[in-house]
Symmetry: C2
Subunit: 437 residues, 2 copies
Amino acid sequence: MSPCPRIVALDVRDVRFPTSDHLDGSDAMNPEPDYSAAYVVLRTDAGDGLEGHALAFTTGRGNDVQANAIAALAPFVVGRPVAEVCGDLGGFARRLVHDPQLRWLGPEKGVIHMATGAVVNAAWDLAAKRAGKPVWRFLSDMSPAEIVAQVDFRWISDALTADEALGILSRARAGRDERIALLLDSGYPAYTTTPGWLGYSDEKLARLAREAVDDGFGHIKLKVGASLEDDVRRIRAVREAVGAGVRIAVDANQRWDVQPAIDWMRELAPYDPYWIEEPTSPDDILGHATVREALRPIKVATGEHVANRVVFKQLLQAGSIDIVQVDAARVGGINENIAILLLAAKFGVPVCPHAGGVGLCEMVQHLSMFDFVAVSATMQDRVIEYVDHLHEHFLDPVRVSRGRYAAPTAPGLSAQMHPASLAEYTYPGGPAWAGRT
Amino acid sequence: MSPCPRIVALDVRDVRFPTSDHLDGSDAMNPEPDYSAAYVVLRTDAGDGLEGHALAFTTGRGNDVQANAIAALAPFVVGRPVAEVCGDLGGFARRLVHDPQLRWLGPEKGVIHMATGAVVNAAWDLAAKRAGKPVWRFLSDMSPAEIVAQVDFRWISDALTADEALGILSRARAGRDERIALLLDSGYPAYTTTPGWLGYSDEKLARLAREAVDDGFGHIKLKVGASLEDDVRRIRAVREAVGAGVRIAVDANQRWDVQPAIDWMRELAPYDPYWIEEPTSPDDILGHATVREALRPIKVATGEHVANRVVFKQLLQAGSIDIVQVDAARVGGINENIAILLLAAKFGVPVCPHAGGVGLCEMVQHLSMFDFVAVSATMQDRVIEYVDHLHEHFLDPVRVSRGRYAAPTAPGLSAQMHPASLAEYTYPGGPAWAGRT
């Protein structure tokens, strides 16, 4: 055991799953995704066998670009004392985000920001493993002041100050132990996107929707946006299959301009869609506000492509959205997601995370559970997305049953994959890709 | 000569200039930039010796990430017929932007979008060289319908339709020949940032400001945002040096939150700053609107880090800015910049491009001159930024004298660098970097 253990390596791997073979995961903007992970491992010389694992998610082409960007962050990580990184994750994240040269590549958006997020999340995984706690619990056991120290308030102080954040977190101390016990006992509500991919037949869609409801889900999601006629037929089939009591969200994956979003959704309104997700560009704060105003009471949701806390801040300031869809692998890691959870709490808007892909369910469940214990202190109208893909590749996969996520108990962020899966799906050299590329 | 010439290679090079040796280019957020180019060359088998050259600009670290992203676009380019690419640059740009897998890395922002912009701009360089025209003239000689066909109206149709764009361009046909003659005769107005870098002493600042005015500039720019006390002293020294008739813009390079931007600028207001540039996050549409409202009549400008046309659209819709600062290498290339010029014309807001860096002056002059001839049809309150750095590395460098850019006459986008410069400054292997890395 080294007297002052250091991070000695940042390993990156391009891992891709040939999911485009089937139409699982197909939507109006992503017709043929190959779900992929730019996978990062932080190794130390502590001699305790603990590593930090996390990933940036992509849909195939470009996963090499994402992996390369993560590798470019190695000089900020390798050689640093483990205790320094894990003892001040807020400072660690800020150093990455504010590098005066790298920030030109964003700032705080796109490839370089997702790379930062992956490295920051790997550091959280390592820190939580060293503490022997799952990340949701590691976060929830911090004091309000410690949590505030994780957050970069630059550019959001007009909507949320550190003092306000401290107030939100301090008020949420009441009932904390009961909420932890409740989570451990009965988990957190989920909704499922499994039935609703665009590539499925109406018959398969209706059957899967019924099965989901029978399986305990009270909320399902349908992809829309490719053909209005098809969408009307599909949502009608699903509504008939599940009855009036089940929430049916629809997701356009950014397919529309502002007015077409309104017009299209009015055709689906008779079938009582619960929310419209990504009606238009994730950058269009004003556009979402117009869509929301026009479509009430249908809710508007977005977030999986929202680049950072500054855009979320404005979506909330402008009253653009009813649902904040945090993503574990889009923004600058857990630190920035804490800022987004606090903004959502300030504005009283529920957080319903985006998940699916590969590893996103595993990671994002920790954020919702932390939100429940220590930030919003409620599960009211909150659900975590669930998609039943690719969980078998993880050491600590999500456990979803009767429409609820069980609280993870293994230490870390749950993003660590089996070595055999990494070897099999490494691109382009892994056996899964033999003869394909 | 091949009967159907094709693009046979997309070459990328990581080129960096050690500009951090001096404090040229220093500002409040970029204290030590090494101006860099992720440089791209499209080669063909046409046998005519023509190549397409362009670049993405960065400030040093991460230029390898940017270059790698450009290289990842090769499969979209290599093997395509030259006539197909150069004959439908709008379609070419849309295919790159809308790739269903790569778009996950943005969408339309950051590293992948700048990579798209570099490749699209290289195609424009090639197309203009084949036509034997500088890009500004190549664009200006298109019909309104041909120009409209360059633009992707997705996500901006709520602010600008193709029909409205056609109307703007058609109205600008009147007086077109006179404006071309005027440009060729007396060029386009410039402003200079050369005096105002943060690393300069007050004495050097005042001396350079006076020299700039003596040299014919009626508009100069000063970097601010590191120290309020220093900024007050510096702008006072410059105002005293140049007198009341010269416009002094100030540039905070995103340093402030919303209220601090307002408070800080009120201290500088007595010295009559013409605009405040990048007061806060480039993503903060609502924040810029608040700053602008509070600081009238000081103008608010931004753009060099504005990710795409959707954010520019909203900055205009929300009345956030007085000045649109297009950048040649931030968005998805000339096609998206045409959309931004058209949006600015629709909202009646002047375009004053960001330039400097390496090659940005060379490229962006073409956009302003095209805007004058064919879009806004005016130079009123419009100036192109000028910085006297690194022009010696270009085959067709900008020619600025008496405060005006001369209209380029050589075919292409003016971004082609001397082979000797590319060799000298290639990172990390070039002689300029020997012993440094």
